[in-house]
Assembly symmetry: D2
């Protein structure tokens, strides 16, 4: 049993990690740290876990965590993991950060999109971007994993294999729609139930912090016009990606790279992904349509933002890091309905 800890398990990403890890056959949760809930029983703060866990939230103590745990997940809000991750690394812990702080290699991009200086930039070169299909080997020995963002997963997985395809140079258009859990548990008028129910909106057009992450993982060979939207559902991201073809081509061979991926399902031409088939699962599904009239290729991908988009992928990274079966604790089909 791999002994793990979670720092920041009361946020939505952290709770999902807790849910997955509690049922994982090869993992034992030995410590949970929380600033807001320190000293309280986990199941008092998170009643969904009553009768499943008998721990208390502790104050954050990097040395103790490093001693107790073989791996530590960090699930604190963006821009707040730089410091604790550095402390955990200094104490010798292997760390999986589900936040954005260690994803961008370029600190100027980080500052530009996150409006803050990176205070632990020395850990960036060693951080492995935790997208298993593209970084599986590096993950085996990773000491610090930057688990990808939810939107980027849904955009990078379909686009990266096409970097050598005959595409136009104009930016891809990625219009993504997300469930509200992606916005986290912080209260905000926009996400008060009566304000968001029966509503649709776009936000941060051309300015979302996932843009540099997507373009980095497309090796800066493709620009992306990324427009995130929210719709009245809790979990799920659907990304519709329109790319312009220089000439007719068949995308299928480019996607052969995913054939043996346990959690990428290439649906094929004229097959469109839906959120319901991936909800509660670690899968990313995608398919496409070639529009001969417009000469565009339109790809539609779907993930569960909390599972395949955050916590599930973090567990998949853990499995790789510790030589467990890659799908251990993750072998769940989509929860439809």
């Amino acid at each position: 049993m791999i002994k793990v800890g979670i720092v920041g398990a009361t946020g939505y990403g952290g709770r999902e990690l807790l849910r997955l890890l509690l049922a994982h056959p090869g993992v034992e949760i030995v410590a949970l740290a929380s600033t807001s809930a320190g000293g309280q029983r986990v199941d008092a703060v998170l009643p969904a876990f009553r009768k499943l866990i008998d721990l208390k939230f502790e104050a954050f103590d990097p040395g103790a965590l490093a001693k107790q745990c073989e791996a530590v997940f960090v699930g604190v809000p963006g821009k707040e993991s730089m410091k604790p991750v550095a402390q955990l690394r200094a104490a010798g812990a292997r760390v999986l950060d589900i936040g954005p702080d260690f994803r961008l290699k370029d600190t100027r991009a980080f500052s530009a999109y996150y409006q803050v200086e990176h205070t632990s930039a020395e850990h960036l070169p060693g951080a492995v971007y935790g997208l298993p299909p593209w970084y599986r080997n590096a993950l085996r020995d990773a000491q610090l994993v930057a688990v990808p963002g939810c939107y980027p997963i849904s955009v990078i997985l379909p686009l990266r294999p096409l970097l050598d395809a005959p595409l136009s140079e104009i930016p891809a258009v990625a219009d993504s729609i997300s469930g509200i859990s992606g916005a986290g548990r912080g209260l905000k008028e926009d996400f008060h139930f009566p304000e968001m129910n029966e509503n649709l909106k776009a936000y941060k057009v051309g300015a979302h912090q996932h843009i540099p992450e997507i373009e980095q993982e497309l090796q800066h060979r493709m620009q992306v016009q990324f427009t995130p939207h929210v719709a009245p559902l809790t979990r799920g991201i659907l990304s519709t990606i329109t790319v312009r073809m220089r000439e007719d081509f068949d995308p299928a061979p480019y996607y052969a790279c995913y054939e043996n991926e346990p959690f990428v399902r290439v649906l094929g031409e004229n097959q469109l992904a839906e959120v319901k088939h991936v909800r509660g699962s670690n899968f990313c599904d995608f398919g496409w349509v070639i529009d001969k009239r417009t000469k565009n290729l339109v790809i539609v991908s779907a993930i569960d933002n909390l599972m395949g988009g955050t916590a599930g992928m973090a567990v998949q990274c853990l499995n790789i890091m510790f030589g467990l079966e890659e799908g251990a604790g993750l072998d769940w089909g989509g929860m439809a309905p």
Copy 2:
């Protein structure tokens, strides 16, 4: 009081017409025809209208309707209004068709996208496309109005003023998200509550019948990559339209044409429309972002698909046709929450 009739008032568009017309200060509903509900009391079929209407659904009789009514609304399913509209016109009625049959001037496009021959093509030249900002004069004397489709309204209103702007020739990308009422009341597994709740999907990519309608009203000067989506809400359409600029320009002056439009609200730069502000109203709201990094202009528009997107616009057309105050019966703000 203008005496009106409705043919096909049990569908969602027809019900919404009934709701609006019952409260309209200048209109009296004198007849309702329905194939499925002939002979039944309106409020037995549609309990939402109990204590408001004391009529029965009648069998469709074009001559009687033309005699009783100064205007007849037709709300039957697509491809099924060709015949009754022609009969009503032959009997002398002024007709407002909320379906698609008389919107496309090009019968080949109609056949290609609707998979059926147009059997009343002789009425197409005289049919007025019922989009008041662009056809107000023609509407005054119109004998047959083809009320626009919901998606097209949300795309045409923001794009048409830009036809002379310095835009690239590549197709605009219009990713629209609709509430499920847009799919009508016909039962379908896709829209069974547990299948659609908490789901997101795209459909008819590059093949939706609103494509030729949009491009016709953009005077075939702009191609549109239109991808419709559905999200788990009942009413509302949000359209995100990405167009490529040939050079930097300010869209605001192009939109001055809408300044006095009663139901178009131009929000301006960096202001994004939301469904909640238009729900239950006849408004179309839109704003935009100029992304200097990508050289794209991203416009976001919102309507209530049943009101501003169908029945409300039909009533606005009626008001124009009969010289009533244009906003009569339509002066409702958005229903937030």
Copy 3:
């Protein structure tokens, strides 16, 4: 045109009043007061009303309001209307308070359930409980109207006619389910979208402040076990009321009193009300089932909590107070879908 003002128009009840009054044929809104939004344009704070209103929110000035307005609606949070209502009354204004402060005649009950002393108790005797079917005459000359609470409307309307029916003395059980707009616009973790979507919960069992209001209007002749619930929808209340019969009887004759009520629809035996038929309307629908096996009568009622449950009923009271047609501005059927 009756000149009216609204104090506190940014809350959900106040917004709905604004929506209704802007479209009301016999009313002109001349002033809006708001503490939080003073000095700002109404349509900047409430974008749903752009192009419909050209006023600014003012600071609360009872004298000015009394001078400008023939009637003033007050829509501030519960326990906060005592003072401004008293000031408006002192300045001579006729007032309609949509909050709870003037509903309970018994100040001890008020203190017990609202945990605060009533500071304007001298206005309680003159306040008219604004439930038109039962207080229509008193409303004509009312200077202060306490518009009923949403839950109470859905429970009192079906129960009050049964006070003389052969019912058992044990308390009625009223299990009500409400949409979340009933909780107001104040942010609360419980009503953060991801917490409330796909959730169901009961709250304030045996302790809700609407209990004394219901029992007062049942003339303290019936006790009610009232359990409110919330479900993931925005608008609507469904109340299921189980009463025990002393002997078999037919409730229909007891409900004959509502035959000419414009906004009460008695559906009859084995007909159950649904929220969708009253959404966006001022109606209260109810029907019932007699369970011979258990000797219970089960009544199910439905309202739109913001319209028939608050703002619509307030407008109906206004219409009565000023001799307008009682249904003016309210003649809307249910918004299904």
Copy 4:
């Protein structure tokens, strides 16, 4: 690995079983039978399971299933399992039926509530009602398990321990609210998304087929006025149960029986269950309020109707039948959000 089969895996209960069993560490699915989908790949019919299962649906062959499988789950619609279950039993299979056909011992009650004669009544005496806390011993050797209905689970678990408590003899009032997945996947206008979204309704008042099931498991010592409701969510049941006390008493000691139950969580006094804490889990949570004013005890319970209310409980029964760890494959906390 226990070899199991599923008959009728395309319905919502069957799909959930498939989801749970695919991830169960001690179970292997060896056969799936379906009338509607015979011959098709499972993952073609249920795309949520792509990359997880490599089987085809077969025609129903009781002999083959009995030979291949140590246990067969049956998930066909109500009234349709009588025959296949009898055939499976005749062929020697141990059967877990998630439908209602073998729950009621009294065939007259079955006929009265299901409007059909029971054609396999000879199997009723041996059928074990699959509610582990009350039938754990009988389950160990059960050859036929009738998995309880979803509503009954939420009502029986809180009420059965109170049979010896000082309660009044008047019927308990159980007002339950269910998500729509409980209605199954059959299309019905009531559950078309735009009809049910933003709607609330009660149905089958005093006539629901779960009434005799509840009362049987309360040993006919308590009558229940059961009113089921539906609300716009997919999964979950919340039951509010009002019982009248003969005298004051503390329910807590009566619930001590559940202390070691793995999937019953007794929250205690003034703690109310919510669906979000049990969604995606096998738990039944409940708590209560004693209302001294009315002398009623109000209990609120919550389950996930598809997991704790159907498929999860079926797996728990399987675990007991085959001596596996009782929580194997079920150790999931609630999925909030």
